[in-house]
């Protein structure tokens, strides 16, 4: 396979994942603003931070309002991580690697772009937001479904999956990092309604507020939330799950190519660390520091994959 094609697949799936996660973030933000009576600019501040675009927002806007934040996250082309920018970039990459995709996968991606372009042509009215967010999630689901149902399990599949999980791990780690302080036992006024809203919003950002109850219990506890999103190998958006998938897909590539790169060692180390450290251990040593290091290692892994498989050079 061409290095450029591997690169295109990797980024196609990173962008689609980012678009979907963007929709979840907005959903969580909306939910918080509905649940609380007082001004909610702080909540949108957190959402913008989770999306990694807080500073960029300030370059475009003078003040922070819910309506502007939603528009910025949803459809502003000045924001390369807005849902629309991501769908466009994902589709652009898909078009570039068209020959590597099944017709079904390409069509699902193209139709997602066609529908979202029409839906997001104008600033969304608040009343339309639930439908828009649903459509984004549904369209992303259709792409995933076509991909899983029709693609050969070969190197094309592996690069696509690696892109998905590097992006997802990054997004989950960011969501946790922005809110890490509400999860610290020392600071949290445990059981206050304020905390409950914050905690639920974290779970909602990764569509895990229902699943949490099945795995733990009805009561939200910071350590359980962190455990769920970091160490729980059954939670499809947890860091541990993402790294299991990354390691397994890199493993297929290693066998197929009969060669390993720096990326293989890095991914295995990260996975081993995720498996061996208990959540209490992580919390005791500093959740924020842990997440910062994770995000930086995850970025480095992306770079190593790009070097090892000649994405650019």
């Amino acid at each position: 396979m061409l290095g450029r094609t591997a690169n295109g697949l990797y980024w196609m799936f990173r962008y689609i994942e980012r678009a979907e996660n963007g929709a979840r973030l907005i959903d969580a933000g909306l939910r918080m603003s509905l649940t609380r009576s007082e001004a909610t600019e702080d909540d949108w501040d957190g959402v913008l931070q989770s999306a990694g675009v807080r500073e960029l927002y300030d370059e475009v806007h003078d003040t922070l309002t819910g309506s502007d934040a939603i528009d910025f996250l949803l459809r502003d082309r000045a924001n390369p991580s807005s849902v629309m920018s991501c769908i466009e970039a994902g589709r652009h990459n898909a078009r570039m690697v068209r020959t590597a995709l099944t017709r079904e996968t390409w069509e699902a991606t193209n139709e997602c772009w066609i529908e979202m372009k029409a839906m997001l042509a104008k600033k969304a009215r608040p009343a339309d937001l639930p439908e828009i967010i649903d459509t984004i999630k549904r369209r992303a689901g259709l792409i995933r479904g076509a991909f899983h149902g029709t693609m050969l399990r070969n190197e094309i599949f592996n690069f696509s999956r690696i892109g998905t999980f590097i992006e997802r791990a990054d997004n989950t780690a960011r969501i946790l990092d922005v809110k890490y302080y509400v999860l610290l036992p020392a600071v949290a006024a445990v059981g206050s309604s304020m905390d409950n809203v914050q905690w639920e919003s974290i779970l909602r950002s990764v569509s895990a507020h229902r699943a949490y109850g099945w795995v733990y219990d009805a009561e939200l506890r910071p350590a359980n939330i962190a455990d769920f999103l970091i160490s729980n190998g059954r939670m499809p958006r947890s860091l541990a799950y993402c790294y299991e998938k990354i390691v397994s897909n890199l493993g297929y590539l290693a066998r197929e190519y009969r060669a390993t790169h720096a990326a293989h060692g890095t991914a295995e180390q990260t996975l081993a660390a995720l498996r061996s450290r208990s959540i209490n251990d992580i919390m005791d040593q500093g959740l924020h520091e842990y997440l910062e290091e994770f995000i930086s290692d995850n970025n480095r892994l992306g770079q190593e994959i790009s070097d090892g498989y000649r994405f650019y050079h």
Binding site: M1, G3, R4, R95, R98, T99, R103, N110, I114
Partner: protein, 478 residues
């Protein structure tokens, strides 16, 4: 602007006789059509459009920044050619393509046709499409034009003309394939009722044809790739489609590099050699070391690899000299010179404006003629005399006088019509035809091709960039 004047009453309609009975090739189809519900057909037409949009079968129109991807309208009434008509056409096309290759080989070697005084020397040597780098070099198998798209127009029952020989990188073949695919999906019964010759094996034949012309430096199974200028090129969809259907890599210049005397592509495992490159990049951009130094689309040094016999480039660089509009007017002489026979297919009579008496004639008859730029394509830079306004003609006449050598003129042919589906039923529209030809040790003509149709009543401009559409083209087995 091309005005809506209605179809010229004299135009030959390929489906209906003057007495409203169907012509023979259309008789089975016409029965089917008569049994169809018009509303349902119009709904089908919308369905076809959705299939195309969803598949992403689009092209880019240069100069339209915000509408960067457009659909070529598809009309669901097929253009039907009888087996007898096709055999005649195919023989003429084959003769012409053989002559084109012989001409190219001669032009880049002994230039006997120039020595014989049949073509003026300056027409070759002062032509931008003539590449001195090709002099004395013979491509693998002696084939210059691996893929040709011969544009044909029809004006009567037995009257066919060649309008253009596209010998560089003819496009549109993906539409031929997608149109057939769409028709078979929407109206399978039609393919039971009519014996339509298949076109679907084109990608297979193309790959086979390209691989059979691997360079002498190729050991083992030839590795084929399609070279595209990239995602922003107007025909990118087609490049990706063909690579996909052939099962070969779609590469860009930035993927390729000359290493150890071979052209190699950067893969996830390292650099791997390519033996045959089906390039959809113009000559000028192919090699910045040999041609345009500012080209970012090409591969530095590929011409050296080519000349050393380590890669096949299809079509060969420098083939543009054979389909140039000024050379076109000499095609009857060219065919006769190399095949020893009269051309089976006619050329459209052509005035070369570089010749003073022709220029005088053209200026005096501007309202009757179609005037084209020698190097233009896509329907840009042309004047359709009969439908142009007086002002447009006057402006064009000034351009003509300023650079006469830049133009040729042809009579406005009364192109044949085939009906298209409109809201009220069917209405005749002018069409042309581009069959696709593959050249290796043999000449293969795909039975069918791309029928382009002017969607505006009376318009003679079929180019997709100027509002033309396409039709599925059937060649019947008979």
């Amino acid at each position: 602007m091309v005005k809506n004047k209605g179809t010229t009453p004299l135009a030959f309609d390929e489906m209906m006789n003057a007495d409203s009975s169907p012509r023979q090739p259309y008789s089975t189809y016409n029965e089917w059509y008569a049994s169809q519900d018009r509303i349902r057909l119009i709904a089908k037409s919308k369905e076809a459009e959705n299939i195309f949009r969803k598949t992403g079968i689009t092209f880019a129109v240069y100069g339209h920044a915000d509408s960067s991807e457009k659909l070529i309208p598809f009309d669901l009434i097929p253009r039907i050619i009888s087996g007898r008509e096709w055999r005649k056409l195919a023989q003429g096309i084959e003769q012409r393509v053989i002559a084109l290759n012989a001409f190219l080989d001669d032009i880049y070697h002994k230039q006997e046709i120039v020595r014989a005084g049949r073509i003026p020397r300056e027409l070759i040597e002062k032509n931008d499409a003539f590449l001195p780098q090709m002099i004395g070099f013979r491509p693998p198998g002696g084939v210059y034009t691996h893929i040709v798209g011969t544009d044909i127009v029809r004006t009567g029952e037995d009257q066919f003309y060649v309008l253009e020989d596209n010998a560089r990188t003819p496009s549109g073949v993906s539409y031929m394939l997608e149109n057939r695919e769409t028709m078979m999906q929407m109206f399978p019964e039609l393919f039971h009722q009519n014996r339509v010759r298949p076109v679907e094996n084109y990608p297979y034949l193309l790959r086979q044809s390209l691989a059979s012309l691997a360079p002498p430096g190729c050991s083992g199974k030839p590795r084929v790739a399609v070279l595209t200028p990239g995602i922003y090129n107007s025909a990118f969809y087609e490049h990706a489609f063909l690579a996909d259907m052939m099962g070969v890599e779609l590469v860009e210049g930035s993927d390729l590099r000359v290493i150890d005397g071979k052209v190699k592509m950067r893969t996830t495992r390292g650099y791997e050699a390519i033996d045959v490159l089906y390039r959809r990049v113009d000559d000028d951009f192919l090699d910045p070391l040999t041609f345009r130094p500012d080209s970012a689309l090409g591969i530095p040094g590929i011409m050296d690899v080519y000349r050393a016999g380590n890669i096949t480039i299809a079509n060969a660089p420098g083939t543009g000299i054979s389909d140039d509009k000024a050379i076109y007017s000499y095609m009857p002489e060219i065919v006769e010179f190399y095949t020893g026979r009269k051309p089976l297919l006619e050329n459209v009579p052509t005035w070369r404006c570089s010749e003073p008496q022709s220029l005088k004639y053209v200026l005096e008859h501007i309202e009757e003629l179609v005037i084209k730029e020698v190097h233009g394509s896509g329907g840009y830079g042309m004047l359709v005399g009969p439908t142009a306004t007086r002002k447009e003609r006057a402006i064009f006449a000034e351009k003509l006088k300023a650079r006469p050598g830049n133009y040729i003129a042809q009579p406005t042919l009364s192109l044949s019509t085939v009906p298209i589906l409109v809201n009220k039923g069917i209405a005749p529209r002018h069409v042309d035809l581009r069959p696709y030809v593959l050249v290796s040790d043999k000449v293969q003509i795909i039975p069918g091709g791309l029928t382009r149709v002017a969607l505006k009543a009376g318009s003679l401009v079929v180019n997709s960039s100027q509002g033309g559409g396409t039709k599925d083209t059937w060649v019947l087995e008979d």
